[in-house]
C-alpha cells in the first residue's frame, strides 16, 4: 500500500528531526522544510497528502501567509493543512472555528504544539480520510 506523504514545515530543527522520526515510525513518508520559502520550493517536486505547518517562524505570521499562498494555487489548495502552534490558547476559539470551518479550503485544523504527538496523530488521521 502506498505510504501517505507528509510535508512538515517548522523553523525548529530539533522538533523537525524528532517529528520526522516519529511520523516515519508510523509509516508515513516525510519531507521537511525550515521555512515557508523552502516549503514552497519543496512543493514543486514533492506532492504531499498533508502539510503540517508551524505558524510563527521568522515572522509572526509566516504560517498564515504560507496558508494564503496555498489557497491561491489551484492544486496546492486541495492539500489539507494542520496548523501547529504553541500560541493556540491565544488564538481565540472564534478564529479557530473560522479557520477550521468544514467548508474552508484547504481543510485546516489547529493543534496545540506539544512534544507529545497524540493530538497530531489524531488530526493527521482525520484529515487523511
Amino acid at each position: 500500500m502506498n505510504k501517505s506523504k507528509i510535508l512538515v514545515i517548522d523553523d525548529d530543527v530539533d522538533l523537525l528531526a524528532s517529528t520526522k522520526l516519529f511520523l516515519e515510525s508510523k509509516n508515513y513518508e516525510v519531507n521537511t522544510a525550515i521555512n515557508a520559502k523552502i516549503g514552497l520550493s519543496v512543493l514543486k517536486t514533492f506532492h504531499p497528502d498533508l502539510i503540517i505547518l508551524d505558524i510563527m517562524m521568522d515572522t509572526n505570521l509566516e504560517g498564515y501567509n504560507f496558508l494564503n499562498d496555498l489557497k491561491s494555487d489551484d492544486i496546492l489548495k486541495k492539500i489539507p493543512v494542520i496548523m501547529n502552534t504553541s500560541m493556540a490558547k491565544s488564538i481565540g476559539v472564534n478564529m479557530r472555528s473560522a479557520i477550521e470551518d468544514v467548508d474552508s479550503i484547504p481543510k485546516t485544523r489547529f493543534i496545540d504544539k506539544s512534544g507529545d504527538w497524540e493530538e497530531l496523530l489524531i488530526a493527521i488521521k482525520e484529515l487523511l480520510q
Binding site: 525548529d12 530539533d14 522538533l15 528531526a17 524528532s18 517529528t19 522520526l21 516519529f22 515510525s25 510563527m56 509572526n60 504553541s86 500560541m87 490558547k89 491565544s90 481565540g92 476559539v93 472564534n94 479557530r96 472555528s97 504544539k113 506539544s114 512534544g115 507529545d116 504527538w117 497524540e118 493530538e119 489524531i122
Partner: protein, 441 residues
C-alpha cells in the same frame, strides 16, 4: 486627519454657532432699543443684515458638511479660507450695523474686541493681526467718513444728547486707546492659545509614544512566550523519540530516567502555559468588550474538546437554552473560562463517565453549569480550589499534571466581568462548576 487639523474643523463649526447667537443678539438688541427704549433706528438695514447673516451661516454650514464628506486633499486649506472670509465678513457686517445705529456713539462698538478675541483663538498669529488691522481700518473709515460728512451719520436719537461723531478730540483720543487695546488683546490671546497648543501637542506625542511602547512590550512578551514554549516543545519531542523507542530499545534504567524527564517536561509545559497566560492578561490592555453569542462559543468549544473526551470514552451531553444568546464581555476571556471548566471536567473524570454542559437563561443573567462524575473535591477545599497554584489533596496524588492556575485565572476573568463562579462537589461522586454572567454591561 491629525488631531490638530480636526480642531480647525471644530472651531469652524464653533464660529458658525457663535454667529447664530450674534444674530439672536442683534434681533433682541434691536427690539429693546426700538420698541422698549424708543430710540430711533432705521429698520431696513437691520433686516437686511440679519437675513444676510442667516444666509451666510446656512451656506457656510452646508459647505463645511460637504467638505467633511468629500475628503478633499486640500479641504483644510479651504476651511481656513472659509474661516478667514467669515471673520472679515463679520467685521464688515458689524461696521455697517454700527453705521446705521449711531456709529461711534453706539456702545456696541466694543464688540469689535469680541471679534478680535475669537479671531485670535481660531486664526494664526499673522492672520489675527491682519484681521484686527482690517477691523481698525473699517471702523476708522466709518468714523472719518461720517466726520467729514462724506457719508451720512445716523444718530441714535433718544440715547445720547451730545454729538460725539464730529468731536475730533474725542475721536482721536478714544481712537488711540481703541487701537492699542485691540492689538494688545490679540497679543495676549495669541500667547494663551500658543501655550495651550504646545501642551496639547506634547500630550498627544507622549500618548503616542506610550502606545508604541506598549505595543513593543506586548510583542516582546509574545515572543518570549513563543520562544520558551518552543524550547520546551523541542525537548519534549526529543525525549519522546527515546520514550517511544523510535531509535531502538532502552534498558530498564534508561527507560526509567527518560520517563522521569518526560513527566517533568509535561508539567513544565503546562506550568509555563498557565503562568504566561496570567502574566499576559495582567500586562495587556483591556481587551475589547462587546456583545457576543455565548451559545455559539459553547458549541465551538465542545467541538474542540470532543477529541480529548473520546479518547477516554467520555460523552459530553449538552443542553443549551434556545434563549441563551448574546452577552456582553471580552469574548476570548470568557471562552477561556468555559474551555477551562469543560477541559477540567474531562481531565478529572475517569474513563467511560459522562459530562453534562448546561446553559440556562436567568432573565438578566446566563447560568452555565459543567457537571461531571469524576473524582470530586473534598468539602473543606471547595473554596480553596480557586486560589492560585492550589491543587486539591485528592488530585495531587492521582493526576500529576496540573498547575493550579486554571481556576484562579477563570475566577479573575469572571469577577472582572461582575459575575460569579462557584463549585459544588462530593468526593468520588463528581463536581458541578457553575458560572453566572451578566447579559448586559
Amino acid at each position: 486627519m491629525q488631531p490638530i487639523n480636526l480642531k480647525i474643523v471644530r472651531l469652524a463649526y464653533w464660529l458658525i454657532r457663535l454667529r447664530w447667537y450674534a444674530i439672536i443678539g442683534i434681533v433682541i438688541a434691536y427690539v429693546i432699543a426700538k420698541h422698549i427704549l424708543h430710540f430711533s433706528i432705521w429698520e431696513l438695514p437691520i433686516y437686511f443684515i440679519v437675513i444676510f447673516l442667516i444666509i451666510l451661516n446656512v451656506t457656510s454650514f452646508s459647505f463645511l458638511k460637504f467638505l467633511q464628506k468629500s475628503h478633499l486633499r486640500k479641504s483644510l486649506k479651504i476651511v481656513n479660507r472659509i474661516i478667514n472670509f467669515q471673520i472679515s465678513t463679520d467685521l464688515i457686517v458689524l461696521t455697517v450695523l454700527l453705521h446705521y445705529s449711531g456709529g461711534v456713539e453706539n456702545p456696541f462698538i466694543i464688540y469689535y474686541i469680541f471679534h478680535m478675541i475669537i479671531g485670535s483663538i481660531i486664526l494664526t498669529t499673522k492672520e489675527s493681526f491682519i484681521q484686527t488691522s482690517f477691523a481698525l481700518i473699517l471702523v476708522g473709515a466709518m468714523t472719518f467718513l461720517e466726520y467729514f460728512g462724506i457719508i451720512q451719520h445716523y444718530p441714535l436719537e433718544g440715547f445720547i444728547i451730545t454729538n460725539m461723531f464730529n468731536n475730533l478730540t474725542y475721536l482721536l483720543c478714544t481712537g488711540c486707546i481703541f487701537i492699542s487695546t485691540s492689538y494688545f488683546v490679540v497679543y495676549i490671546t495669541r500667547t494663551i492659545i500658543k501655550e495651550s497648543n504646545k501642551h496639547e501637542i506634547a500630550y498627544l506625542q507622549a500618548n503616542l509614544k506610550l502606545k508604541q511602547k506598549d505595543k513593543i512590550k506586548n510583542e516582546y512578551v509574545m515572543r518570549i512566550t513563543h520562544d520558551i514554549k518552543g524550547h520546551i516543545t523541542a525537548i519534549q519531542s526529543c525525549i519522546n523519540v527515546l520514550n517511544q523507542k523510535l531509535t531502538g530499545p532502552l534498558n530498564p534504567q534508561q527507560e526509567e530516567f527518560v520517563n522521569r524527564a518526560h513527566n517533568r517536561i509535561i508539567i513544565l509545559n503546562q506550568f509555563i502555559s498557565d503562568l504566561l497566560s496570567i502574566t499576559q492578561r495582567r500586562l495587556q490592555q483591556k481587551q475589547e468588550r462587546k456583545y457576543f453569542n455565548i451559545a455559539n462559543s459553547l458549541e465551538a468549544i465542545l467541538k474542540i474538546v470532543e477529541h480529548s473526551a473520546q479518547e477516554k470514552n467520555i460523552s459530553i451531553m449538552k443542553n443549551i437554552d434556545p434563549s441563551v444568546n448574546n452577552i456582553y464581555g471580552e469574548q476570548s476571556s470568557i471562552e477561556e473560562v468555559l474551555s477551562n471548566l469543560i477541559l477540567n471536567a474531562v481531565k478529572y473524570s475517569p474513563p467511560d463517565k459522562n459530562i453534562t454542559v448546561l446553559a440556562t437563561d436567568k432573565q438578566d443573567k446566563v447560568l452555565v453549569e459543567v457537571i461531571d462524575n469524576g473524582i470530586g473535591i473534598p468539602e473543606e477545599e471547595l473554596n480553596l480550589v480557586f486560589n492560585e497554584f492550589y491543587r486539591a489533596s485528592n488530585v495531587r496524588n492521582q493526576i500529576k499534571d496540573g498547575t493550579g492556575l486554571g481556576l484562579a485565572i477563570s475566577k479573575q476573568i469572571v469577577e472582572n466581568h461582575g459575575g460569579s463562579i462557584w463549585v459544588d462537589s462530593k468526593l468520588n461522586m463528581g463536581s458541578t462548576f457553575s458560572l453566572l454572567l451578566k447579559k448586559d454591561k
